[in-house]
Amino acid sequence: MGNHVLVSGLSFGRTVIGIATRPYETYRRIVSRGTMWELAYVGVLVSLYCYISRIRVAPVVLTYLVTVGLFWWIGLFAGAKGRLTGFLIAWGYTLVPTLVWFSTTSLLYVLIPPPRSTRPEGFLFSILYLLFSATLLFWKVILSYLALRFGLRLDLGKISLVSLIVLPILFLYSIALYRMGIFRIPFL
């Protein structure tokens, strides 16, 4: 048990570096050799962020499960042949850029609270913040693509098709959670 935790911890650290520096190769490894223990580390990081930011964990977990479930079921209709465990772990790692963005934005909210002005300082901050956000968004898109590519074993065409079906559903789901006041962040 202790060995599993330690080995998975090391593997998690190595994988986080890998998804930043060699995402393609790392994702292939995650899907074929990843363990559910690694997912626990992602869960701990998400819980820690939620605790610090005073956000409820349950909607985050629900969103993760809904997203994985939707991609999995609609992927099956599109001919997906992956392993659910592999896909769960692969999708879990796509939360890393999300966590980095949310943590940084939370920190910046405390350090430099909005609104931003149109003065040079405010404008410069806005540009840098948008650059940072867009870079992380592109990183997340790549990781999500790789999770679908290796986790569901789909090609680009089918990934686009599945995404075209799933993303509007997730959009409506996010709005519903936001309107119900369950979750204040409609874009996880």
Partner: protein, 76 residues
């Protein structure tokens, strides 16, 4: 080549060739060029993409991008 090394090579080869290579018709060479830059250390391409996006947003919204940033920061 020793047996162990050969077996390792075969295992790696099977792992790499597990999924058929992605093709996108006549755009395949361009796709391969782009993807090659994203497979290892993708950050330069990601940053360039972000710069293009942010410049586009600035041309579209002008100084109103500060409002967008305020909305994003208030997402909490």
């Amino acid at each position: 080549m020793t047996d162990a090394l050969y077996q390792k090579f075969v295992k790696r080869w099977e792992e790499v060739m597990d999924l058929p290579p992605q093709t996108v018709g006549p755009l395949t060479p361009y796709y391969k060029k782009l993807v090659a830059r994203l497979k290892v250390m993708p950050w330069p391409v990601l940053v360039i993409g972000s710069v293009v996006l942010v410049v586009g947003l600035y041309l579209l919204l002008g100084s109103a991008i500060t409002i967008l940033v305020s909305v994003l920061q208030r997402g909490f």
